[in-house]
């Protein structure tokens, strides 16, 4: 019997998810032993045309990482959906837009302006990337940037979600073990739509720091604090920690080493909008009553949307800035 086929694809993302899979060490060998790796651009040379030539649903499972930012991303999402029995939104980008999703607060023009005419760019001719370039050697094409970043499940149906930026290697191993077990008939697939490789509570559940009632009178950035207490809750020390509103599963990696959680595992189960949960939670414990005094505390959060929606913007209720959305067809 031939081995079931496995694919992994990298759309708009940094590549960290790919590294995280490799970081599972010998688990990759087990993967190879149980699957026929049919398509994995980061690991092997396969052309898109070869994927297009595959039979529909011939891939058992595809781990899709990266957001949908370009026409090419969208095309590959459709293609892989078609060729895969199980499509997994793998990592924060595919699930909720992640850091690339933050670009949704700006229009494409703003982004180009920043990238190609910003203070650190030398570009006196105001060159901009072109989608088609006719060179003497032939026509070069570059996939067009879409108006906003979308998540995989806003483009195609997704079977499972593995959150994290990147997903913890320990958790990836759990997911791979599950897949291998399913292939060998030792386990059944969880219900469609399930979140794999994560906990059911929030980061605080795993965070060892001691905690008390919260009364925020000042919010600081970490570099502004002279020192940090190593054992008490970071939020209580005035740091914006996203832990209370972020799905558990990472073993509270960041708070463990004194860095506040930035929310990469996304919203807790059943939550519609992670940013709104952070917003309401933080605002609720501001210990002031007068509007001016409240504002003074909130001034400690210079970029609320970027803070609360650092990872989940593209998947949030509003998804993007109004001007950027206005460019969508």
């Amino acid at each position: 019997m031939s081995k079931p086929k496995f694919a992994m694809y990298w759309a708009s993302a940094c590549g960290g998810c790919e590294i995280a899979v490799l970081n599972t060490d010998e688990k990759v060998l087990e993967l190879d032993a149980n699957f026929d790796v049919a398509f994995w651009p980061a690991a092997m040379d396969v052309k898109y045309q070869e994927v297009e030539a595959m039979e529909d649903a011939s891939l058992l499972v595809t781990l899709f990482n990266g957001a949908i930012r370009t026409d090419e991303n969208e095309h590959m999402a459709h293609l892989l959906r078609r060729k895969s029995k199980i499509l997994v939104a793998f990592g924060s980008c595919a699930n909720e837009g992640c850091i690339p999703g933050l670009a949704n607060l700006s229009t494409r023009e703003d982004l180009f302006e920043r990238a190609y005419s910003g203070p650190s760019t030398e570009n006196p001719e105001h060159l901009r990337p072109q989608t088609i370039w006719r060179a003497p050697e032939g026509v070069l094409t570059l996939t067009p940037l879409q108006p906003v970043v979308r998540t995989l499940d806003q483009v195609v149906e997704v079977d499972y979600h593995v959150p994290g930026c990147p997903p913890e290697s320990r958790q990836i191993a759990v997911v791979l073990d599950l897949l291998i077990a399913v292939v060998n008939g030792a386990a059944e697939l969880p219900p469609k739509g399930a979140v794999l490789g994560a906990g059911e509570s929030t980061v605080c559940d795993e965070c060892p720091r001691s905690r008390d009632v919260k009364r925020l009178t000042k919010l600081s950035r970490i570099q502004e604090l002279p020192s940090l207490d190593t054992t008490t809750c970071l939020l209580e020390q005035g740091l914006m920690c996203s832990g209370p509103a972020t799905r558990s599963g990472c073993d509270s990696r960041c708070p463990n080493v004194g860095a506040p959680c930035i929310g990469c595992y996304g919203a807790a189960p059943g939550v519609l909008d992670q940013g709104a949960r952070l917003m309401t939670a933080i605002a609720s414990v501001v210990d002031e009553k007068e509007p001016e005094a409240i504002d003074r505390v909130l001034d400690g959060l210079p970029d609320p949307a970027g803070t609360f929606y650092r990872f989940s913007l593209a998947h949030s209720l509003l998804r993007a800035n109004r001007a950027a959305l206005a460019e969508t067809p």
Partner: protein
């Protein structure tokens, strides 16, 4: 923007003051524009910013949050939580390009039907001036992928 634009406003009111202020406006036959549709909460402290985001994302042009006057909350001081959330929400919404007039916080006691009506009238006019928000709906994927996916090189060309 056309003159006939009638904004749709979702109003979140508390059971003790602002919802009763709306009742009071009724009892005193205080007329105000019919653009606001009210939802009763027990307290403005129940106001979850998610409600506001959802209302705006689902087609409302504005959201009114109304509670008891500061210091007069039926639950002692929960309306201050609404105040804080509103201020943070406003800061966040600004980054999404949503004008502050679209999300108004108002205080009205059970006896202030006239004030409540005036708040709605003012807000309707302000939002009318801003024009429709018309937030694009969340994309939902089709259950099936089209059978004929074009070859990528053709898409790019």
């Amino acid at each position: 923007m056309s003159d006939s634009f009638e904004p749709v406003i979702i109003g979140f009111t508390c059971n003790w003051c602002s919802y009763r202020a709306a009742d009071h406006a009724g009892m005193t036959r205080t007329q105000y524009p019919p653009n606001a549709r009210l939802i009763r909460l027990m307290c403005s402290g129940r106001l979850d910013p998610t409600f506001v985001l959802k209302a705006l994302a689902d087609g409302a042009d504005g959201v009114l949050i109304a509670g008891c006057h500061p210091g007069e909350c039926h639950y002692l001081e929960q309306n201050y939580k609404a105040l804080r959330r509103h201020r943070l929400l406003q800061r966040t919404l600004a980054q999404f390009g949503i004008e502050p007039e679209r999300v108004r916080l108002a205080w009205a006691s059970a006896a202030e039907g006239v004030k409540f009506a005036a708040e709605i009238s003012e807000m309707v006019e302000e939002v009318r001036k801003l024009g429709p928000l018309n937030w694009p709906a969340r994309p939902r994927p089709l259950a099936t992928v089209p059978a004929d996916i074009p070859v990528l090189s053709e898409v790019a060309a």
